[in-house]
């Protein structure tokens, strides 16, 4: 498993299959070759200059709720 960081898409260059993402104010150009349909405002997982996947805001919220209610039954299997 390697270092991958969630960053927000701020602009998309469709012609070159690139995007500029922002993490805490730092902007970096990354490749979208591995994900389809990314739009501005999406959060993508970035690793070695590529987006690996989209972060699901709903699932993130669910996970945080799970943490907050430690003591609840675990998530049902996917």
């Amino acid at each position: 498993m390697c270092l991958a960081i969630p960053a927000e898409v701020v602009s998309i260059d469709e012609a070159n299959d690139n995007a500029v993402v922002s993490l805490g104010g730092i902007k970096k150009q990354i490749s979208l070759a591995l994900v389809d349909g990314a739009v501005v405002g999406d959060y993508l997982l970035i690793h070695v200059g590529y987006a690996l996947n989209r972060i699901s805001p709903d699932e993130a919220q669910k996970t945080l709720e799970l943490f907050a209610e430690a003591g609840m039954l675990e998530l049902p299997p996917k």
Partner: protein, 378 residues
Amino acid sequence: MKYIDEFRDQQTARRIAAAIKQAAQAERHYRLMEFCGGHTHAIFRYGIQDLMPANVEFVHGPGCPVCVLPAARIDEAMQLAEQHDVILCIYGDMMRVPAGSRRSLMQAKADGADIRMIYSTQDALQIARDNLDRQVVFFAIGFETTTPATAVAIKQAAAAGLENFSVFCNHVLTPAALGAILNAPEPVTIDAFLGPSHVSTIIGSRPYERLAKEYGKPIVVAGFEPLDVMQSALMAIRLVNDGSHEVKNEYSRAVTRDGNSKAQTFMTEIFELRDSFEWRGLGVIADSALQIRSEFSTFDAEKRFVIETHAISDVKGCACPEILRGQKKPVECKLFGTVCTPANPMGSCMVSSEGACAAYWSYGRHRVCQDVNKPHEP
């Protein structure tokens, strides 16, 4: 930073710690293997074990691609740079790993080899475009998180006819490594696994299901942040208590059962299985690594260049094999902290900052520093 800060909250950590304490049965001792070096690093860097009860133990796994790469392969990459005069592009992680005669790529670079550190395979392609009169080789390492990036580079090189570009491929596979641990001749007492975060983003949680069932161990796909690790530990303990052999997904915000099919397609298009591959510390494992398919063999550095291969044996007394399998802790290695330190690494577990021994030494030495009367020299 969104999706980072909220997953590091201290108050929530205490709550989950309390839940773990409740869930962990007093008469049991839980051994949870975190497969990935990234998790090992997070555990030590945040001091997560301080929040766990005494009967829950993290056992460190082999999921560190730098750690499991045989020294001989680094030597071969060095040959390409030194004897074939290529521009060798490498990730920063590989710079300081000592190979044969304890020389690293950094030293080869100091001696004049054209070795360039890059952040992305896109940088390697650019170097190839900027130096059409030179051969450019990308030293590819990593599990399935990193493999798609190499696949994209090869595909783009092929489409652009970038003939001076090739890849020295050392990509390895996670399920095979997990299987090797579970299948070890000496049984390892591991009660549950915390599965890798970002490998799973690519391959999905499905590949772990067969392993969980076959070996009767629960596997929880764990996120990368410290709260993810704790929550996953809690889930794992509950599964162990229930005697369950299921796969659960804690990292649901980035991992699905099927994974990233686009990335998987890239990988199967460019790569195929090697019959076997030697892993440092784990020995030869069948169907555990990738090579470039014949349709793209022109971009395969092992086909383009004549590379001499020879084995390099591990240092005597080095317990990396046992440590990578979770059978020994770093402190149980005779060389740990005496002969072997990050400044002078003897084996793979100390060479990478993700290695169990390096993490232990750099972040957790205050726990093992038994002699409280002696200053610890850097």
